[in-house]
């Protein structure tokens, strides 16, 4: 899924100004929401178009990518690229900013920290210095009543390390990069044209004034007390993730054990060789080389496991935890509300769940 590689119109910008915020058109938000929730539970992706102005990245339009399964069934790698180019050409004709600034993707319960994400990021980053990934979680809106839209980008430090080559222990220690420093969130702002704002204001006037209090769908979603299914699924994912993390740690531990064993073997070999050489010298013979010999199994360097996977899993676990905490806090508050409305306010245990 390396869509970005097919895109030739990456506008090189000076990377000096850091990206402070992402400004998204209401239109784009609606399109993303529509595409992602219509195709759910299939995960979908699409391209973001816009302009890169100073510290803000303006996303003014987007278009969806066809379903990957369908594209794969046709067996056409180029097909996706063709679709993309054709769409961009068409959009240019109707005066849309046809400058790729990133992509969007849907996610299920916030499980988006994958190697694929990083790969796609890197592919995009080759052409576009500053690109973002907008992640939308349709499940969140429906079950918690909050709006699950996030803009992500890779941190400069991670990119630096990645550019330098392999993702090894030494490099990470060198830059003191922790798992939290791979991806960072960029604040999102919604912007609209004045026309649209006026139009929408007029159209929703009746909705907003209805019943005077303007009860909306998200109000109803928000009041739903049952958060158990959401929590259950999140916990399930979390425990799966923990298993993965344990496996990953096992791998690292295994490697470390192997390394220390190898080092002691090497030391042994060296002392042996030195003793041998001392003997040979005493006998007046040419000393044997004391350098490492690659044919010797004790010196064979073993491949170091990539830390990226572990880092991503850690991120994912963190994401789940945050999500679970938020949901649990919200449901506690709702419970308190229910207790209050039932006239049983006194049963509420004094809990500060945020602490």
């Amino acid at each position: 899924m390396v869509w970005g590689a097919a895109n030739p119109v990456g506008k090189p910008t000076e990377a000096e100004t850091p990206l402070r915020s992402v400004q998204i058109d209401g239109q784009v938000v609606m399109k993303i929401v529509k595409h992602c929730s219509e195709q759910a539970p299939t995960l979908v992706t699409g391209q973001l178009l816009g302009l890169d102005i100073g510290a803000t990245l303006e996303v003014t339009d987007c278009f969806p990518f066809p379903n990957q399964d369908a594209a794969a069934a046709e067996g056409e790698e180029d097909d996706g690229a063709n679709y993309q180019l054709e769409m961009m050409r068409c959009l240019r004709e109707i005066n849309v900013d046809n400058n790729t600034v990133g992509w969007y993707q849907s996610t299920y319960l916030g499980s988006y920290y994958t190697e694929e994400l990083i790969e796609t990021f890197l592919a995009y980053q080759e052409n576009i210095k500053r690109c973002v990934c907008v992640v939308y979680d349709p499940t969140k809106s429906a079950s918690v009543g909050t709006f699950g839209l996030k803009a992500l980008r890779l941190t400069d430090r991670f990119l630096e390390i990645h550019r330098a080559g392999e993702f090894t222990f030494e490099k990470i220690a060198d830059k003191s990069l922790s798992w939290a420093d791979i991806v960072c969130e960029v604040p999102i702002r919604i912007a609209n044209s004045a026309l649209l704002s006026a139009m929408f204001g007029e159209l929703t006037r009746s909705v907003a004034s209805e019943e005077k209090h303007g009860v909306t769908q998200s109000d109803a979603d928000r009041l739903a007390v049952s958060s158990a299914p959401f929590l259950e699924k999140s916990l399930e994912f979390l425990s799966e993730c923990m298993d993965d993390l344990a496996a990953e740690q096992q791998k690292v531990a295994h490697y470390q054990r192997f390394l220390s064993k190898q080092q002691s073997q090497q030391a042994q070999w060296l002392t042996k060789r030195k003793a041998e050489n001392a003997q040979r010298r005493a006998q007046g013979l040419e000393p044997l080389p004391e350098e490492e010999d690659p044919s010797n199994p004790a010196h064979k360097p073993s491949a170091e496991p990539s830390r990226l996977e572990g880092f991503l899993i850690a991120n994912q676990v963190n994401e789940y935890c945050t999500q679970i905490q938020a949901t649990a806090t919200a449901s506690l508050r709702k419970l308190t509300l229910v207790a209050g409305s039932q006239g049983c306010g006194d049963v509420v245990p004094a809990v500060d769940s945020k602490a």
Binding site: K34, T60, H213, T329
Partner: protein, 306 residues
């Protein structure tokens, strides 16, 4: 959206049109981005037609066009290319009609409508008034019926609806038209479900922050409270004999009341305690997990530095 439903004679099976907000967004955007010389923009509407004649407009894209002296040039190639691309993403969305900016129907619409009549059966025409002439009817939907110019009889003329003004013939001023289109307004419903989820207020604003971790429960509770107060005020007024009770409202109130589970205090306490404990346990668990993660990181990096 304020338009009343008019019985549509001979206009196919289009009963009403439901417009997804994304279409409004798209139309506005394309109007803002139009060519300098262009007075209005048109575009293709995509969606589905339900069995009961409700046309759901779910998506749209702008189509370049050019109007001069009653002649219209629509970029058909562009339209075809776009529809191909859209069908690859969502094959379920077919062409259902077209939109244009402007208040009501203008003469050249007949030509465009005829073009879309070849693209789909019974196209709908949605107009979006960007001049805000009539604030209550910014978005309007029309269906067209092809008429042979000669047979435009008096009965049709006589049937022009009253104050709604929902009918307009667009035959005049078309140079090469052999047929005229008889436009009739149909009911239009805006569906804002999706927009509401995002927050209508933040979406409609010219510049707003997204409320992702919305701390809106307070606001929602306040709304709920307001509604309850209103209901109880009404009930009090009826009981006091100040207002005449409406049976329909009474039934609704009874429904609402009966949906409240009748729990005793001890039952409720038990339920409440269980749920609260669940939530707290889960919070605790996730906190422990986070702690574990941090600890693992610290220990790992510490041991690796050797």
């Amino acid at each position: 959206m304020g338009a009343a439903f008019l019985p549509v004679h001979g206009a196919g099976k289009v009963a009403s049109v439901r417009v997804h907000p994304v279409v409004v967004f798209n139309a506005c955007d394309s109007y803002v981005r139009r060519q300098e010389t262009q007075e209005r923009v048109i575009g293709t509407l995509l969606g589905t037609v339900r069995h009961d004649g409700v046309v759901e407009v779910k998506n749209s894209y702008a189509v370049p066009h050019n109007e001069q002296n009653g002649q219209v040039y629509v970029d058909v190639e562009f339209h075809r290319a776009m529809i191909d691309l859209h069908l690859r993403v969502n094959p379920a969305e077919k062409i259902v009609g077209w939109y244009s900016t402007g208040d009501g129907v203008v003469p050249t619409d007949a030509l465009i409508h005829e073009f879309y009549a070849h693209e789909c059966h019974n196209p709908v025409h949605v107009t979006l008034d960007v001049t805000f002439a009539d604030r209550d009817r910014l978005v309007r939907a029309w269906v067209g019926q092809s008429l042979a110019l000669g047979s435009k009889d008096a009965s049709k003329e006589a049937e022009k609806p009253d104050a709604e003004g929902g009918e307009a013939s667009a035959a005049e001023g078309i140079l090469n038209a052999t047929t005229a289109i008889h436009f009739q307004e149909v009911a239009l419903v805006n569906t804002f479900d999706a927009a509401e989820r995002v927050g209508v207020a933040s979406l409609a604003a010219t510049n707003a922050d997204v409320v992702t971790d919305g701390d809106d429960l307070g606001a929602t509770a306040a709304k709920l409270r307001g509604m309850l107060e209103k209901a109880s005020a009404y009930v009090d007024a009826v009981v006091a004999g100040k207002t005449k009770g409406d049976a329909e409202i009474g039934r609704r109130l009874a429904d609402a009341l009966s949906s409240v589970p009748g729990l005793t205090k001890s039952q409720f306490e038990k339920l409440f305690g269980e749920s609260a404990q669940d939530a707290l346990l889960v919070t605790y668990l996730s906190n422990v997990t986070k702690m574990q993660l941090m600890l693992a990181e610290k220990l790992q990096t510490a041991s690796l530095l050797i």
